[in-house]
Symmetry: C2
Subunit: 258 residues, 2 copies
DNA sequence: CTGAGGGGAATGGTACTACCAATAAATTCC
DNA sequence: GGAATTTATTGGTAGTACCATTCCCCTCAG
């Protein structure tokens, strides 16, 4: 059964914060705010909108965490240009809350990337192919540095995405890649770099030959291999490790019996 | 050329808000907070963490917009179970900021959904197929109500996603679908509902027959058709329309010459 | 005229207080 | 025993005060 998506009309009393976010959305859409541009100071904005600075700051904080804007003390607030980081935080929570496993993330890649490789073979420009080749070279150069090796591995895949010419999937899967980064790094320590390199070389060659079918096959071959490795590695790992906390949290029961 | 992802180490002074979000992430990860569970009151939490309620509220607001928690006045704050909405807001901003067009969104669908249809033909359970059929029926029943018709159209596709059994892609494309909703509704007013229905029926039949190749073909057929219709319709539309604003915004130049 | 340095103003970050409105549990009343 | 009312709790908003950082302009020395 499908999860109920609740398109319910509960538009009734919206937060001021929510309204503010909608306003910013509109201002961006109509071009009043331009990427890279500077926003008025918080105190001014708050007055303009007729809300308190507290409320405005809540909205701005949301936008900042999502990567829409950047704030710097003593300087100001700026609308970001591209927003690569915009999906990162949400995605991490998604993985936590829905308990999405590395296996599922790899399945998603397996579902999409082969087709994208085929598309890349069809539409890649010479520059795109050169970029893919560069990342391949960077991988070779970083054989001994696992972190670097994996970083360029993922950049290789991003380059393929770029060559396929679809920003939507590219953006989406940059997050998936990022989420898998740590796990892949762990895995790479028990795999011969040359093995990974061989698989990547085949993908590159296929795209370079403009062979759609082979590109698709080679990408599938690589990802199936990676998925199996990853799944085994993941079984030994319980979960992700998050960053430090501020203070100790009183673990009192959240059940105030009133 | 790929966009520079700025992996720069600027971990220096993090916001209290950012730290708090990290704390919540950890609390969720280690199971101290359970989905559906109730969080302590804001005033208590703020004291526990040793931060002001203002700062805490900023963090909570971020989590609420992302769909991680729900807050109700007079009641309390609860950790959500699934977080369906978690990618919606970020995705909308992404589309705005990167200026992603409806055409590109449809291209993304065209890239992914055919393969997913094939996967659905392979892995769909009887219940999955029944669900797809139900949405088909709902479309037929809503021939005259454009909004409803389109809603069930998208639910049909969601059902196929579900049948394919990959939550990651399902979540991602629920956002894409949502973004296209209005535009598709407009388009549907100039298209014979029977035309759309026919294409959907073919997809359903193919999946039901467990024919992967035909499922893929039929989904491609449908989306190519939809894309062309949509692209033509979009050309006449400048942009999206967002919801209302609170008050008039002083359009003063964001260039305080100090 | 040029460059280095200092001071002031503006900005975001945080804390704290006060009050409102909505909610749910406890209480009272019929 | 059930319905209406009261009461305490909770999130929502506004407003103030103060801090640390940053930028800009002005001054002054060379």
């Amino acid at each position: 059964m499908l999860a109920l998506v609740v398109p319910i009309a509960k538009r009734r009393k919206e937060d001021v914060t929510v309204k503010l976010i909608a306003v910013f959305k509109q201002l961006i859409a109509e071009g009043t705010l331009e990427p890279g541009g500077r926003l008025p100071a918080e105190r001014e904005l708050a007055e303009s909108f007729g809300v308190s600075r507290s409320s405005l700051r809540q909205a701005l904080k949301v936008l900042e965490i999502m990567g829409v804007i950047s704030q710097r003390v003593g300087d100001g607030t700026y609308l970001n240009k591209g927003a690569d980081a915009i999906l990162r935080e949400p995605m991490e929570f998604l993985i936590l809350l829905d308990g999405i496993s590395a296996h599922e993330l790899m399945e998603a890649r397996l579902l999409v990337e082969p087709e994208l490789a085929a598309r890349a073979a069809l539409r890649a420009s010479e520059e795109d192919i050169a970029e893919i080749h560069r990342e391949l070279g960077a991988m070779e150069a970083a054989k001994d540095d696992h972190a670097k090796f994996v970083a360029h591995d993922l950049l290789f895949h991003q380059a393929v995405f770029h060559a396929a010419g679809n920003r939507v999937t590219s953006l989406m899967f940059s997050v998936v890649h990022k989420s898998l980064d740590k796990l892949i790094t762990m895995t790479s320590q028990v795999v011969e770099p040359e093995h990974t390199l061989t698989l990547h070389r085949r993908i590159y060659q296929a795209i370079r030959k403009r062979d759609q079918d082979e590109s698709r096959r080679r990408m599938t071959e690589h990802l199936v291999d990676a998925r199996d490795l990853l799944t085994r590695a993941a079984e030994k790992q319980s979960h992700f490790q998050m960053t430090a906390r501020i203070q100790t949290l009183k673990k009192k029961e959240p059940r105030p019996s009133r």
